[in-house]
């Protein structure tokens, strides 16, 4: 009896019934939503796979330092610019801080600018950190993480090299150590600027 029951749904029925317009319309909407979602995830996937920006024009920004003076990247053409993202709570940043400051002092009269971008930090801890390492180059907070987003940083510390023409010449993830930065600066300083 049970088997008979099952056989009820068997063959002999035309399964192709023309769809109503309403059904077709709803399917269209469903499909559009699904495709939009897939598009969103594809974008998210690409986005999450992207590393920091390391070539082309360096994204421009204006940074105000802890004393209130301002610096704008696009106004620094003709000089080599080192942009370093850091934070006081980041232990690896401490490893490179002294080296950064020493390199800055070595090159500051040769047409090199150092910009320290303080990424999501408290002002008090940042100032204590700068005191601790006696940082004398330009340092300011990245308000609203705009600069970090423009450079798509994945963490701190990260250092970006900008040449005299304002082009990105690569970047470094993690703490720098002698003589990585010296070499990079020497290389970019040697280039001519029209």
């Amino acid at each position: 009896m049970i088997d008979q029951n099952n056989s009820l749904t068997d063959d002999g029925i035309n399964l192709e019934v023309p769809k109503s317009r309403r059904t077709k319309g709803s399917v269209f909407i469903v499909l559009a939503v699904v495709l939009a979602l897939l598009g969103l995830f594809a974008w998210g996937l690409i986005q999450s796979g992207k590393g920091p920006v390391d070539s082309g024009d360096a994204p421009d920004f204006t940074l105000v330092d802890f004393n209130g003076s301002t610096i704008t990247l696009s106004e620094l053409r003709g000089q080599v610019v080192i942009i370093n993202f850091w934070a006081s709570w980041c232990p690896p940043c401490r490893e490179e801080a002294a080296y950064l400051e020493a390199t800055w002092r070595k090159y500051k009269d040769q047409g090199v600018i150092f910009i320290g971008v303080d990424y999501v930090d408290t002002e008090k801890a940042a100032l204590a950190y700068m005191d601790e390492f006696d940082l004398t180059y330009f340092n300011g907070p990245d308000i609203g993480t705009r600069i970090a987003q423009a450079y798509n940083i994945k963490g701190v510390p990260e250092t970006f090299y900008v040449d005299k023409l304002g082009k990105l010449r690569g970047m470094h993830i993690g703490p720098l150590s002698t003589p990585q930065l010296d070499e990079k600066i020497d290389e970019m300083l040697a280039e001519s600027y029209p």
Binding site: I2, F41, L45
Partner: protein
């Protein structure tokens, strides 16, 4: 050596699963049963082959074969054998293998049991399930291969991960491994991940049957539903257990005093649970009334897709989460597979839409049918709200470029009212008759639980009048509990008066007569108890934080905590422990001493906070050690204390749910059940008689 055997088995498993997919699809299409049988045999072999692979990895993990990159990543000398075994699913590579293995296991059980019964559906059941298995085994083989070795190239900064030896390299075997993430070194590791994975992978069975029913056009009937009902229940209860164990683990380990944080990964687990629950209910409508056939299809496709989606966001870092696995190359492959699954299922559904017409008409708007449609719609609405909140940060970033967070306040205030109505429907649904219910009878059935709940909540509410919103929640819990108890009471009363049984006999016979119904009531009872835990968490949670010197006390509510001192000692698994000694007082009387600690894992440089908990049915006092300072003169420490009211009802509710599911899924071979509610004289309908 052992690892090589595992790798070979894995490779053969992949080839077999691809073959099974192709052969069964071809056999089904051309009606060649030889091909289908061959595909079945190949499918049956995939599971033992993957078992060999899994055992090879487990063996390597236990014996610390550090020539394997995976073993180096997740195992270490300091870890106990128990943890080394659990490390199988403690990292990306192993867990994908584990996942594929479980899925193959489900397929084997189905093929062994159901082969004779659904010959027509079988080719496509095999094709669908083996395609998915092939995909996961393919991921293991080509992207997250746990059998990769570490290779050292002279002058290169890091070792290279590869299965075979790249040119100019030598095999690199480290002395010790990094070991599991400290947060995973917990007894809960044995419970939450496997149950969750069984839940996720288990949905492949109803999904494969649904797809097969659509392809063959047998979606018109509901055999596929009857065949898979118990599978769905198994997957569902494992997912439920996984959710609850995950909550318990978070409560014990993550040290934020809560059990549910509305994190994307938690949501990713919750969504298939919600649609799966809706599916369990909509299939009842099909069995009883031949209605909601379209819903069944939509819901099972959604459930399965959402479990894939959950895996996708956990493992690809698309959406930021606390629990995320490290990012990996899984993304594009997973994305493609989800896309194909989605679009393929939607196409099939569209093609067979007209076979899913409802068979009966609705006699009255006041009927159980209406309640079922509403509760199903609510499940979908809650799922949408959770989904929307989970993906919205991504949408915001895409559209406005602004990163935002959607945290618990959103989920609580949006899903809260929806859950409220859903739970209310859960309570009153059994009071509605199928087909038609007079308002008068409904009123008769409802007034007693309602009056009872009013009395309870007024009394209760008076005690908690400083939290007016909580009274509504407590009323709901009381009302639903009374509704469920009333159902039991009615049945028992009927039996005691008609058959002269004593109440306990009557209760046992009553449940025995209709496992599904009364098992279902127990599950409902479990759910409402869990809801009680959430109400406690939302309205009665108290917290305080403070720094005290040894001998001083911290006060919270009617509890006092005295700090007696600190001690430090080395623990197992390579950790250094700092433990605080506390004495807890309630209303001035000493109740317990507690030892909250901070474990510091030296190699991983990671601290883990282990709370000290005094647990009672009504509330937990949950104390965490946050900070300390030791000088020659005295000791100072900072503590955070939570009073988590009613939280234990979440775990108790979980047990009740498991108990109910066991009853509901228990087969009683002698008993026949009508699946259709017959209308007298309506002989044209399908009277499907079925063994339950």
């Amino acid at each position: 050596m052992i690892a090589d055997i595992g790798l070979i088995a894995l490779t053969i498993a992949f080839l077999f699963s691809v073959y099974a997919t192709v052969a069964s699809a071809y056999g089904g299409w051309r009606n060649r049963s030889k091909w289908v049988e061959s595909a079945r045999n190949a499918s049956l072999l995939v599971f033992p082959l993957l078992t060999v692979s899994v055992l090879a990895i487990v063996y390597s993990l236990i014996t610390l074969d550090f020539s394997l990159a995976y073993v180096y990543d997740v195992s270490s000398q300091a870890m106990s054998p128990f943890l080394r075994v659990t490390a199988l699913w403690g990292g990306q590579d192993g867990s994908v293998l584990f996942w594929a293995w479980l899925m193959a296991g489900f397929v084997v059980i189905v093929l062994l049991r159901k082969w004779e019964r659904d010959r027509e559906l079988m080719p496509y059941v095999i094709a669908t399930s083996m395609l998915t298995t092939a995909f996961f085994v393919g991921l293991v083989l080509f992207i997250t291969n746990p059998f990769q070795h570490l290779w050292y190239q002279y002058g290169a900064p890091d070792a290279i991960k590869a299965v075979f030896q790249p040119a100019n390299t030598t095999l690199y075997i480290p002395q010790d491994g990094g070991g599991l993430n400290p947060l995973l070194r917990h007894f809960g590791m044995i419970g939450h991940p496997p149950t969750t994975y069984i839940g996720f992978t288990g949905f492949i069975i109803p999904f494969a049957y649904a797809i097969a029913a659509l392809i063959t056009g047998k979606s018109r009937g509901d055999e596929w539903i009857r065949t898979t009902r118990r599978w769905t229940l198994v997957a569902w209860i494992f997912l439920s257990i996984g959710l609850i164990l995950g909550g318990r683990w978070a409560y014990d380990v993550l040290g934020w005093g809560g059990f549910w944080g509305w994190d994307p990964i938690e949501n990713a687990m919750l969504m298939p649970w919600l649609t799966g629950t809706a599916f369990l209910h909509s299939v009842m409508m099909t069995e009883k009334r031949g209605m909601m056939k379209k819903w069944n299809m939509v819901l099972i496709i959604l459930t399965y897709s959402l479990s894939l989606f959950g895996t996708f966001i956990t493992r690809t870092g698309v959406i930021s989460s606390v629990h995320a696995f490290s990012k990996s190359a899984l993304g594009p492959a997973f994305f493609t597979f989800i896309g194909l699954t989605f679009i393929g299922s939607i196409y099939l559904l569209y093609w067979r839409w007209d076979t899913l017409e409802t068979e009966h008409s609705l006699e009255s708007f006041v009927s159980r049918e209406t309640v079922f449609v509403l509760q199903n719609m609510l499940f979908l609405a809650i799922t949408f709200a959770v989904f929307w909140g989970t993906v919205f940060p991504l949408i915001s970033e895409l559209v406005t470029g602004t990163k935002i967070t959607v945290g618990p306040p959103y989920f609580k205030s949006v899903t809260g009212p929806l859950f409220f109505v859903e739970l209310l429907l859960m309570g009153i649904a059994p009071l509605f008759a199928w087909r038609k219910q007079t308002v008068k009878n409904l009123g008769k059935a409802i007034w007693q639980p309602f009056a009872g709940s009013l009395v309870v909540s007024i009394g209760w509410g008076y005690l908690h009048r400083m939290h007016p919103m909580s009274i509504i929640g407590l009323w709901l819990v009381a009302f639903v509990v009374f509704c469920i108890l009333a159902e039991f009471w009615k049945g028992v009363k009927a039996r005691t008066s008609s058959k002269g049984e004593n109440p306990i006999q009557a209760l046992i016979h009553l449940i025995g007569r209709n496992h599904r119904r009364y098992g279902g009531y127990f599950i409902h009872l479990g759910v409402i108890l869990i809801a009680l835990g959430f109400i406690g968490d939302s309205y009665f949670k108290q917290e305080t934080q403070g720094t005290v010197t040894a001998g001083e006390r911290l006060v919270i509510g009617n509890y006092q905590m005295r700090f007696d001192g600190l001690r430090g000692y080395p623990g197992s698994d390579g950790r250094e422990i700092v433990e605080a000694n506390l004495t807890l007082f309630k209303d001035g009387k000493e109740v317990r001493s507690l030892q909250p600690r901070r474990d510091y894992f030296v190699v991983q440089e990671q601290p883990v906070t282990v709370p000290g908990v005094y647990s009672t049915a009504g509330k937990d006092v949950y104390i965490m050690l946050l900070d300390w300072e030791v000088s020659d003169i005295d000791q100072q420490a900072t503590f955070k204390i939570y009073i988590n009211s009613l939280i234990n009802w979440v775990w108790i509710g979980g047990f009740v749910m498991i108990f109910g599911t066991i009853i509901a899924a228990w087969s009683s071979p002698k008993q026949l059940e009508t699946t259709y509610v017959l209308k007298p004289g309506m002989s044209t309908s399908l009277p499907a008689v079925q063994e339950v």
